[in-house]
Symmetry: C2
Subunit: 426 residues, 2 copies
């Protein structure tokens, strides 16, 4: 008999509890031994829930799980760092296998917790922390382990992708699309974590740590949100043959790992450009497997439950064995590449005074910075304001040079506004 | 020290040997112990190869691997049933962990070999048998194990997909596209296994056995090849909003599993319609995870090596543990649904005499069979032959009824030829 203690009975916890209670026979068949939900930690008993649990299952005292030697697997779906991280540490120290969906804790303290798991001879599994129903965490640790990972390019925040899809297809403003996402429950009342890329940065930190076998921190990820995008950026992108997607990217360049989350132009024919709505996708480019793309539901009760219960099955299967968690050593000497060293192509949109010679001045600045122009669009001349919009795409250039050039452009009297600068990820 | 014996040094074997020889340090880091290639079985020493192996590594005697108690992991990349299957059985019986890329053996004898592995307390891993670089085998066994699988829809033969992509984009004939595929090395001199769907049926058998935890046989798969497709089918499909793809599908309907491989119409906006060239894709629809799509390179030296070496790492990691291979029990009472019971939408293309009343007769036959028409296209009337082409799509209907109707249509004097009938998979 394998006993499970569940911490948290929110959206995901309810799905996990329902599955563990309903699926006892098939679970036993897959794990080779019966799996039983023994205890569920909640904050208060009185809160209404859409699940009927056998009496005696609920507790408000974490010790009923942490101190029970008969509970073999601890499942944490509380979220946030406090008290969740403390519970995880206690559980691992008490010799319990731990399954968590907690991206924030795994991003900030994952390598440390994995070391604690190894020390105590137990497993720490966290498939649900990235991509929910998409099995990317397990694949990076296991099925794709033979590869040196050249890059990971991903759409791992459904809220952002929903907003960008609305803006692209319906031409709505950012504010309007965000409002719709909030009405539909895809965005929270305070959407900062999603739209500023913080949630994606947590997930990218986890994926990069697995791919490059070296601990990274969320602060290693350069982060730009999507709130400054305007409808015309989507129109220009489309005209140039691109979609705009918020990408979370980790790649290896000259022995250093570059980590970033930002809205970028993606060629319209690329699979990542076709990921719409709340869907997520992760593209792994490996030395042997080449480009493998995973596409699926990256959030929600059922997809997250799929990942959590999958981990419970794995933990139960490995019980009694000696299958220590992955050790992350050989990437220890990899450094993090600063954003200024990024080399990609750029999309720049400017609002300029419609006077002769403006484009020449701008082109001069780019030339001085050794940034070569790939394409220029000049549109939307508005006679009443004597202003025009110029869109420039560049060939590959260094971020630091582009930033310097942008500053110089902003200083030109004819440039009213540098509206937006986006990277182009081919 | 973990010692590996490799059987076969063809395209894949060369990749595996090169990786095991080159990647010793990283492999040890991932597995927690050193991994060493100890012996390589070849058919003859004299054959030229594009790899330099340390002397003493090669042998032409299988017993040098099978009877060596110091070889812990047997890797088989010979292919075909004989002598490969005998070697696998001997290896498992001798207590070796076995990694194989052999789809034919795993499709025909997989469940039996897994039982033999369990009996001998060893692992049998076969990620490379389906989809090469796409980690679908491991994901069905592990990461997605919490799901009841509603369906698997896949493009798992790169040769066929290359030919169909050429026919769709360049309007070439089947024969011409096949010739090109052969020139490029994507198709073999005798392409039967690929273009008739036999290779895909092997792979589907393996996936279905894992998904439904019940042994299936390749003979359970209804199979149709792509050789009868004509350029106009692609034109009509496009006009109707579809792509034509050879799909390998397993799904559960009323407690029975339906298994089939055939060219089908797929909505143009669906991800599977966008899988081009030699790429493969597998879409898994699970009770919890929803639709998860895997996309990547389904053949070739490096992608297959990714899968084989991934399995070697997994086998090495599990050594000394008690992590028995998956047992397939709880799907034992699932039956196989005959193709006549399939219920999907159909595309029918007919060459008819351009006379009044033809369409009425055809519609009558469909009506008699309780098959309702969704759309009709009548085109390409050729005055000189007085013939016309009619394309009909139906709403969902039973395959047996459609076949009966097609027979009746073929019997009409005005119908010169029933050119093609394809299923529509939405």
């Amino acid at each position: 008999m394998v006993n499970v203690g569940l911490m948290g009975l929110g959206v995901v916890g309810t799905g996990v509890a329902a599955t563990l209670l309903r699926e006892t026979a098939p679970l036993s068949d897959v794990t080779g031994r019966p799996v039983r939900l023994k205890k569920v930690l909640v904050r208060d008993f009185s809160r209404p829930r859409d699940i009927d649990l056998p009496s005696g299952l609920l507790t408000t005292n974490a010790e009923d799980i942490l101190a029970d030697p008969d509970i073999h697997i601890l499942v944490e779906v509380i979220g946030g760092t406090d008290p969740a991280e403390g519970y995880l540490r206690q559980g691992l120290s008490a010799g319990k296998h731990v399954v968590t969906a907690n991206k924030e804790v795994m991003a900030k303290s994952g390598p440390e917790l994995l070391a604690l798991a190894r020390k105590n001879g137990v497993n720490l599994l966290f498939e649900a922390s990235v991509g929910a129903g998409i099995p990317i965490v397990g694949c990076l640790m296991n099925e794709l382990a033979a590869n040196d990972i050249r890059s990971i390019r991903s759409i791992i925040n459904g809220t952002t992708n929903y907003i960008l899809t609305r803006m692209a297809h319906q031409g709505t403003s950012f504010e309007q699309a965000l409002g719709e996402a909030q009405e539909l429950g895809y965005a929270e009342a305070d959407p900062t974590n999603d739209i500023e890329g913080i949630d994606a940065a947590y997930k990218l930190t986890i994926l990069a740590s697995l791919a490059y076998r070296r601990p990274f921190q969320p602060s290693d990820v350069y982060c730009e949100g999507i709130s400054k995008l305007e409808p015309q950026d989507f129109r220009y992108a489309q005209e140039l043959g691109y979609a705009i997607k918020s990408l979370a990217i980790a790649n290896l360049v000259d022995g250093a790992v570059q980590l970033r989350v930002y809205p970028a132009l993606v060629p319209a024919e690329h699979m990542l450009a076709k990921v719409d709505g709340v869907y997520n996708a992760v593209e792994v480019d490996g030395s042997l497997c080449g480009q493998v793309l995973f596409h699926g539901m990256g959030a929600g009760r059922e997809p997250t439950t799929s990942a959590v219960v999958g981990d419970v099955i794995e933990a139960a299967r490995k019980m009694g064995g000696h299958s220590p968690p992955l050790e992350v050593r050989n990437g220890a000497d990899l450094t993090v590449r600063p954003i200024g060293d990024l080399k990609v192509r750029y999309y720049i949109r400017l609002d300029v005074a419609d006077h002769p010679g403006v484009l020449a001045r701008i082109a001069q600045i780019l030339g001085d910075g050794e940034i070569s122009i790939a394409a220029v669009l000049q549109k939307d001349t508005q006679p009443e304001t004597e202003s025009a919009e110029i869109v420039i795409t560049t060939h590959s250039a260094r971020e630091a040079s582009v930033r310097k050039a942008l500053k110089a452009m902003a200083g030109l009297s004819q440039v009213r506004r540098v509206c937006n600068t986006l990277r182009i990820e081919e």
